[in-house]
């Protein structure tokens, strides 16, 4: 740490506001890279987009705030990010703000030390946000950050020191995520949510360093972003120049290091050069033909650490990712938020909120007794606020929420905590599961009885989904090209093909065990009725004992959703 940072700066509301706004902007730049890391190449609520929208909710609220109280600013950031949180990773991020707000509550200003402790609170909140932590995800990263930074807080490090340690622990944990989660390893990526958290902290650190060093934000680069390097090593040929096959990364530690000097020494030995840091530590990243020479040059400035040299030609073969900003091309869900609370009478004690996309599916949910259908799901995960509003819009004091998507569960859980009503979440992971749960709903039974019965029934249904790949991938030993038609059974990619109907039949064939009696198909907005009729004809001919039923679902992106039971 240099001397300037050792000065005890006092942080005001404006500083925190600035930190969040900068971190949000920083995040925005990396959003697409994070989206690209989503393991399944399916069009889904993307992690980068979800986290970015969550941060934006906080940023938007802060833009109009002019409070000097740091506690107040933290409180606004916490509330607004919580309401705007989307997707599981967004929810976890919002909890980080909640912890910070708790640490700063009632404070007009804070010392860097106090702020460091508040940030530590935030990380702990983020880790505790989830009831069933899965290792190898954003939670592993959050936990390791919490662990790594605990000592820093105890030893009275200021916020910059804390963030630096947090960042380092986060990166280390992130690198380990593929070892913890086989799906990541197979896909050759790190966890997207974990990366998002690291990127956010990096954004915070950058802003805080500006504050404490008094430098202007323009053109300042802290470290070569992890995002950038991942993109380069994993995203394939665009950035890969065969003249410079060795991606070389290292840290130089010393004193009085000069970023400019190191950069000028290295410049001629390769491309994609990034040199950044402070006078005690500098991070170097370069693509070169001569990694040995890079090491020699760097050793003249200080000691070398975390040396990593990869031959990108190897990586290109094993993990060639097509860049595809999936979220950009997603059509907005067509379904309006329709509140079709059919004949509300005094007996209706339990209301149901469900989340689905497509006008046809919304109608079906409504016909089965859902009181409120939130538009969302595969195309766009609803925010906590949308779920809160839906719950509050019902006249009933008890509400059941069906997320119908893995990535909406946390948001639903948080929404449940924010309302005064008694809320039970039935952990449905797909539209067919949601519909099966609806059928098990019994208005005369208790909330708890309904919750367990609905979940049990939902889990008895098999879900088939037919969509297209948003990028290349290799999953379950199936090589997938961008725009391939892919079929998923209960979230597992089972088949690929070129033709929608044929792929659907193949998926069905892979799923049938002979026990199933009824197939219910919901066709999406991009499928014509003649196309679905063709499909039904083919299936009926092939499986005469299977009862086949089809309905217009109107969902975007997914040609067919079907349930087998």
């Amino acid at each position: 740490m240099n001397e300037k940072q050792e000065d005890i700066f006092t942080l005001h509301g404006e500083d925190l506001r600035h930190m969040i706004l900068s971190a949000c902007e920083y995040f925005e730049h990396h959003k697409e890279s994070i989206n690209d890391l989503n393991v399944f190449p399916v069009p889904d609520g993307d992690t980068g987009t979800n986290m970015s929208l969550t941060l934006k909710a906080a940023a938007d609220a802060l833009l109009s705030v002019n409070s000097s109280s740091i506690g107040e600013v933290a409180g606004i950031a916490a509330r607004s990010s919580l309401m705007g949180a989307r997707g599981n990773s967004g929810v976890i991020l919002s909890q980080l703000f909640r912890g910070i707000a708790r640490g700063l509550a009632g404070k007009d200003k804070a010392t860097l030390y106090e702020f460091g402790r508040a940030f530590q609170y935030g990380i702990v909140y983020a880790y505790n946000a989830v009831s069933k932590p899965i290792e190898g995800t954003i939670l592993t990263v959050a936990r390791e950050i919490a662990r790594g930074s605990r000592e820093a807080v105890q030893s009275s490090l200021n916020i910059v020191g804390l963030l630096q340690i947090a960042l380092e622990s986060g990166k280390k944990a992130l690198d380990r995520t593929p070892d913890l989660l086989p799906a990541l390893k197979e896909a050759g990526v790190v966890d997207a949510g974990g990366l998002g958290l690291v990127v956010f902290i990096e954004g915070c650190l950058q802003s805080m360093m500006e504050k404490t060093s008094g430098k202007e934000a323009t053109g300042y680069k802290l470290t070569p972003s992890l995002v950038e390097t991942r993109k380069k090593t994993q995203n394939g040929p665009e950035e890969f120049d065969e003249r410079y096959p060795y991606c070389t990364e290292l840290l130089i530690q010393g004193s009085g290091l000069s970023v400019e000097k190191i950069r000028s020494e290295l410049e001629r030995w390769g491309d994609s050069l990034l040199v950044a840091g402070e006078d005690e530590i500098v991070k170097v990243h370069i693509h070169t033909a001569e990694p040995g020479r890079i090491l020699q040059i760097c050793m003249q400035s200080g000691s070398l650490h975390d040396i990593k040299i990869d031959n990108m030609a190897d990586q290109y073969k094993s993990t060639h990712w097509a860049k595809f900003p999936a979220w950009k091309n997603l059509p907005e869900s067509k379904t309006p938020e329709n509140n079709v609370g059919a004949d509300v009478n005094d007996l209706v004690k339990i209301g149901i909120v469900t989340i689905s996309s497509g006008d046809g599916l919304a109608n079906i949910f409504t016909a089965l007794g859902a009181d409120k259908v939130i538009a969302g799901g595969q195309s766009m995960n609803p925010s906590i606020e949308e779920i809160v509003r839906a719950i509050e819009s019902l006249s009933s004091e008890m509400v059941i929420v069906l997320p119908n998507n893995n990535n909406i569960r946390f948001a639903a859980e948080q929404a449940a905590k924010l309302v005064e009503k008694e809320v039970a979440i039935v952990d449905t992971n797909s539209i067919p599961q949601g519909l099966a749960a609806m059928l098990a709903f019994d208005r005369t039974a208790s909330l708890a009885q309904n919750q367990s019965r609905m979940l049990e029934r939902a889990q008895q249904v098999k879900t088939g989904e037919v969509t297209f790949a948003v990028r290349e991938a290799r999953i379950n030993d199936i090589q997938i090209k961008k725009n391939d038609i892919i079929g998923l059974a209960d979230g597992n990619l089972l088949v690929r093909g070129e033709v929608v109907n044929r792929t659907t039949v193949a998926l069905l064939q892979a799923m049938l065990t002979g026990e199933e009696e009824i197939l219910t198909i919901f066709y999406g907005s991009e499928v014509s009725s003649s196309q679905v009729e063709e499909l039904v004809k083919e299936i009926t001919a092939k499986y005469p004992s299977l009862e086949v039923e089809f309905h217009y679902g109107g969902q975007p992106l997914y040609y067919y959703l079907f349930s087998l039971e």
């Binding site: 089965l368 519909l435 059928l439 019994d442 219910t520 039971e565």
Partner: protein
């Protein structure tokens, strides 16, 4: 001591031999077709459902008149005997009303009228239990008490092939909520507090049958089970197998339903009535 005679109505659909064996009197309801009025139970079910299919307008049904009850009650009372008269649920039929009116007209306190809160096979099981008790020489009050006890243990579940008939006949009750459900559903309906309510919503007939069988008690002791069906003999056979798998050695009887009930639930219905004493 006075002999207690058991009277029921045609919706119990007791086979003739049972009626004769227990000396049970049956008062019929009516089915009104545009061209003729049929006494419930006086026509073969196959013929009835054929006629129902052919008719342009669905038939409607009506309860027996108090006069119909008088015709049955009067000779028994005049003979010095007593009556326990058990009938189709007052929640779906006015039959109990007609019976009560008839009893009042006779100005006697020797007739007890019991609202079974069910019908069909459920009513049949209760009627036979009453007849057995009467045969054992139980007093009228004891039989009524017994019936009140058994009513609580009685369960009648059924799955109509379609809700159309219940809807048109106005007896749909709580199953009303299922109309307009876009997905194909095999609703498992039940009698609850004398009315038809939704027990569960199931997607396929096989699963619906399994759902009904799941409701059977764990053990088959003192258990009486009746399968109800209309134009669904094959399905009834499958249900029987499912029950026998679950409770080996328990006697399961397959019964039809009376045309009056058939008018309201439609052909293709399958049901289960059981009672554990």
């Amino acid at each position: 001591m006075a002999v207690v005679r058991i009277v029921t109505d045609s919706t119990a659909f007791l086979p003739r031999e049972k009626m004769e064996a227990y000396n049970i009197k049956v008062v019929p309801l009516y089915v009104h077709f545009p061209d003729e009025i049929i006494l419930d139970g006086s026509i073969d079910n196959k013929v009835f459902f054929e006629k129902m299919k052919k008719t342009s307008k669905l038939p409607f049904t009506s309860q027996p008149s108090p006069g119909d009850f008088l015709k049955v009650y009067e000779p028994i009372i005049n003979n010095g005997d007593e009556i326990v008269s058990i009938h189709i649920s007052s929640g779906i039929s006015g039959t109990v009303e007609s019976a009560a009116t008839a009893a009042r007209m006779l100005q006697t306190d020797r007739i007890s009228i019991v609202d079974s809160t069910v019908t069909s096979g459920g009513l049949a099981l209760l009627t036979i239990a009453a007849a057995e008790a009467a045969e054992e020489g139980k007093a009228r009050d004891e039989i009524v008490d017994l019936l009140e006890q058994l009513k609580k243990k009685m369960k009648v579940l059924f799955v109509p092939a379609t809700l159309e008939y219940l809807k048109k006949g106005g007896r749909i009750g709580g199953a009303q909520a299922l109309l307009g459900t876009i997905l194909q559903i095999k609703p498992v309906l039940m009698f609850k507090d004398g009315k038809i309510e939704v027990f569960d919503k199931i997607r396929t007939m096989k699963k619906a049958m399994r759902r009904m069988v799941d409701e059977l008690p764990e053990k088959g002791q003192n258990l009486r089970i009746t399968i109800l069906q209309a134009e669904a003999v094959e399905t009834a056979g499958i249900l029987k197998e499912l029950i026998e798998e679950r409770l080996p050695g328990t006697a399961v009887e397959i019964m039809g339903i009376s045309p009056v009930i058939g008018t309201h639930v439609g052909p293709g219905v399958i049901g289960l009535a059981f009672l554990q004493k």
